[in-house]
């Protein structure tokens, strides 16, 4: 394939959203791979779906609810047990500098 469907710029954007730091070499490699995958999946568009309803979910199951009843929570000690950094009350993360990705 001479021209990639997912070009370098798009690959860079996807990597940024996934918080992946890629080298120029990797960018070009993944650009080709992602485009190949997309090309492969494109095959599906050859299928005639004229009379098929779009599917929002793959299981024929709906309305699985639970009642609004309180169950025991973990508690602070257990919740923090596996955290890389905490102060016995809070999870500690590197100081947040807003990069605008929050909602």
């Amino acid at each position: 394939m001479s021209e990639n469907k997912i070009d370098i710029a798009r690959t860079r954007q996807v990597a940024k959203l996934a918080r992946l730091a890629l080298s120029e070499e990797e960018l070009s490699q993944f650009s080709t791979q992602l485009s190949d995958i997309l090309g492969y999946i494109e095959k599906l568009s050859e299928v005639d779906t004229e009379s098929v309803e779009p599917l929002a979910h793959c299981l024929p199951v709906k309305n699985v609810f639970r009642e609004d009843i309180v169950k025991p929570s973990l508690g602070t000690e257990k919740a923090l047990a596996n955290s890389p950094a905490d102060d016995d009350e809070f999870f500690k993360v590197p100081k947040i500098l807003d990069d605008g990705s929050g909602a």
Partner: protein
């Protein structure tokens, strides 16, 4: 001088925290002020392999809100993942609804200051989970509390139909009344149960051409006052900016401002060139929700008369002023208490006066609603009837109401004990009138002489009679006896 005219255009996004006992997708209790990270479990903390299960109550609360907001309710709705990275979002995605929300288009009527109402279109109202809380202490770390993560939120989005800070505030207050009437949210602003994000811009007409200023979104609004002021401030700021720079709106371009409550100004947080890329896709961990007629009509049966309907009815049915009707319908318990008292036979305006002049003050002092003062509607109705029939004076009724708030529900007994019953006994009253007349021959002469002084003199005699009975005389009856005795 150029000819310049402008209109404010505002749309609102409102997050309402639902009053469920547990979180949206797990059995953790909702929390406020508990120890940090104590009310979390593998689901809401985003442990691998943990699976979310929908809280039925949250879905029903949302549908009830949709019905009250006149929303179209689709029969099929689903959950989507909204992806972004932030430490308060443990799964790196928020479970929300993208293209198939629980509630579609609808509208809300908001009361305006002139007593009319305005219809604001609702774009959608969907259900989602809240994020946790980040705490920035100023050192090298940020701290994360996930107690709030997973709390059910109803996000209501309006069309840009609002055209002033006052209207935006009115909508916020009306929505608070509605969700409280429905019992689906405590809607406590101080606890962050309602969060507002207005989107504001101006339509400016200059020399016959219309321009739109860039849209700004304002965050961090934690009171109705801040909400109103932020809209008013933004309108002024945008007008100034337009006059200075002539900058106009670019599609899809939106800046975010924060509200500084101390300085009463908006502060630029970020300017966005590109829209967020949240990469929404259907959440494979959750199955869709299908709403059939049977379920929906069951939820519909939980709808009650809504606040603005009630307010309008109080005006039309009882002749109350729009202001008084608004005061009485501010909370459901007070409105129902008023309604029941009238049903028990009291004159509506008298109940209204007693409640607005005395009842609400008592309730305020005790930090409760009028309905929680310990007064029974029947007893209040009895009190009103006593006043209407002239057994007690209007001011005695107020005194008795204060006594009744102490839990005593027999107004007759209080009236008797406090000697507040007006003397309706004509024999006794006649005797008093005779005595007063015997002591005041000058006044009698003045009355009989007629003219200007006559009125004043008969007023004086009435005063003497009331005084002689220590205020317990029924004034109408005393006046009747007096004029008979004076041969008038």
């Amino acid at each position: 001088m150029t000819n310049l005219d402008y209109k404010i255009i505002v749309g609102l996004e409102i997050h309402v925290q639902l009053a469920t006992k547990t979180k949206m997708f797990c059995g953790c209790a909702l929390s406020f002020g508990e120890d940090a990270n104590s009310r979390v479990c593998p689901v809401c903390i985003g442990m691998p392999g943990a699976l979310p299960v929908m809280n039925k109550q949250a879905v029903e609360f949302s549908l009830l809100a949709g019905l009250a907001l006149n929303c179209e309710i689709p029969s099929f709705t689903k959950w989507d993942r909204k992806s972004y990275y932030y430490p308060d979002l443990p799964k790196n995605y928020q479970i929300s609804q993208y293209d198939l929300p629980l509630n579609g288009t609808g509208f809300i009527e908001i009361p305006l200051e002139d007593g009319t109402s305005k219809r604001i279109r609702i774009t959608r109202a969907h259900l989602e989970e809240d994020a946790g809380k980040n705490i920035h202490a100023g050192d090298a770390f940020s701290r994360v509390d996930l107690n709030r993560a997973g709390t059910p939120l109803l996000e209501i989005v309006t069309e840009p139909d609002l055209s002033s800070g006052t209207e935006v505030r009115a909508l916020a207050i009306e929505l608070q009344r509605i969700v409280r009437y429905l019992g689906i949210s405590e809607a406590d602003m101080q606890k962050g149960h309602m969060r507002f994000e207005p989107n504001i811009n101006l339509a400016i007409t200059k020399d016959g051409t219309e321009y739109r200023t860039p849209i700004t979104e304002v965050k961090n609004l934690n009171s109705f006052r801040a909400l109103q002021r932020s809209v008013e401030y933004e309108a002024r700021r945008q007008l100034d900016e337009f006059i200075d720079t002539g900058k106009t709106m670019v599609m899809g371009n939106k800046s975010t401002y924060g509200w500084d409550d101390n300085r009463n100004v908006t502060v630029l947080q970020r300017e966005k060139e590109e829209a967020h890329d949240y990469r929404y896709f259907p959440d494979p961990d959750l199955v869709p929700v299908e709403v059939d007629e049977k379920w929906l009509s069951k939820i519909k049966s939980r709808l009650c008369e809504l606040p603005l309907q009630k307010q309008k009815r109080f005006v039309e049915q009882f002749g109350l002023s729009d202001y008084d009707a608004g005061v009485l319908t501010a909370d459901k318990a007070t409105a129902e208490f008023f309604d029941e008292t009238v049903k028990a036979g009291a004159e509506a305006k008298r109940v209204c006066n007693l409640l607005t002049q005395i009842g609400l003050k008592l309730a305020n002092e005790k930090n409760c609603s009028v309905a929680e003062l310990g007064i029974l509607p029947k007893a209040l109705a009895k009190l009103c009837v006593m006043a209407s029939e002239g057994q007690i004076s209007a001011s005695a009724a107020q005194t008795i109401l204060v006594e009744m708030s102490g839990g005593e529900n027999e107004p007759e007994k209080i009236a008797e004990e406090k000697n507040l019953l007006q003397k309706n006994d004509t024999g006794e009253l006649e005797k008093i009138v005779d005595e007063v007349l015997a002591n005041n021959p000058d006044a009698i002469a003045e009355v009989k002489a007629g003219g200007k002084k006559s009125k004043k003199a008969s007023g004086f005699l009435m005063g003497q009679i009331i005084k002689a009975t220590k205020g317990s005389a029924n004034p109408q009856m005393a006046a009747k006896i007096l004029s008979q005795k004076l041969g008038q």
